[in-house]
Symmetry: C2
Subunit: 145 residues, 2 copies
């Protein structure tokens, strides 16, 4: 899973131009999945020096458009990005600190697509967000009480 594919390969494979900001963004996401834009921008700047916020947004949009990255938006959180795509996995989000972890789909490959009553909608994706408390925050809460 943690196969950190060469960013250059990924970009070429998707028929995209290889630019420093893009490579840096992919590297940043490989090291820190579920990062928000600010975090990604900070990481990229650490590596490259000055890069405009706009460039980060543009790169992330380009990556998600071609399917190299995925954008998730848990309620109350800014957009988060990850490189793991195409396997219909889900997420657990910590109510306390916002930490996010991956969760493989519990029901197989294309599972949750079954809604009891779809109201005539054509459903193509089921997105599951588990809400709870992460190990760290659980510890803190117990200590506090």
């Amino acid at each position: 899973m943690q196969t950190v594919d060469d960013p250059v390969e990924l970009l070429r494979g998707a028929g995209m131009r290889v630019t420093r900001p893009r490579v840096a963004v992919i590297s940043a996401l490989a090291l820190a999945p579920h990062s928000e834009v600010d975090r990604i921008a900070a990481d990229v700047r650490t590596e490259l020096g000055g890069v405009s916020t706009q460039a980060i947004y543009d790169v992330l949009r380009a990556l998600t458009d071609v399917g190299l990255a995925r954008r998730i938006e848990p309620a109350g959180s800014p957009a988060l990005f990850e490189l793991r795509v195409g396997d219909n996995h889900h997420h657990v989000v910590c109510r306390e600190c916002g930490a996010v972890a991956d969760v493989d789909c519990a029901h197989g490959s294309a599972p949750c697509l079954t809604a009891s009553d779809n109201h005539g909608f054509t459903i193509d994706e089921a997105e599951v967000t588990y809400w709870g408390t992460c190990p760290d925050c659980t510890t803190v809460l117990e200590t506090t009480n």
Copy 2:
């Protein structure tokens, strides 16, 4: 289902003050579930005249805090509100127009709480969002092609 409980009763039952804006917001939500703040504000103003946007936000927060309303935030959409609470139901969202419909949980009462690997998280809710195309937009898309 469409039991439009008396807003005043609901508020009293929750130990909340009964104010015109609150009653109007509840009425608006009863008639148009899954409304965004702007929509709710418009409906409330139609009924009461001038009400500040802030008041709408305050009322909605108060209602969600006591559990009379529920806030949902589909990715890319402003917050939506509904009165149907406590039954762990889910939503279908139209990718084209943003229309939202309710979907009863397919797996029973407290179902989706089972994650394959919870990474040590304590999970208390599973939120499912189905993405697809609503009947209206399906028709339009077919006509266009």
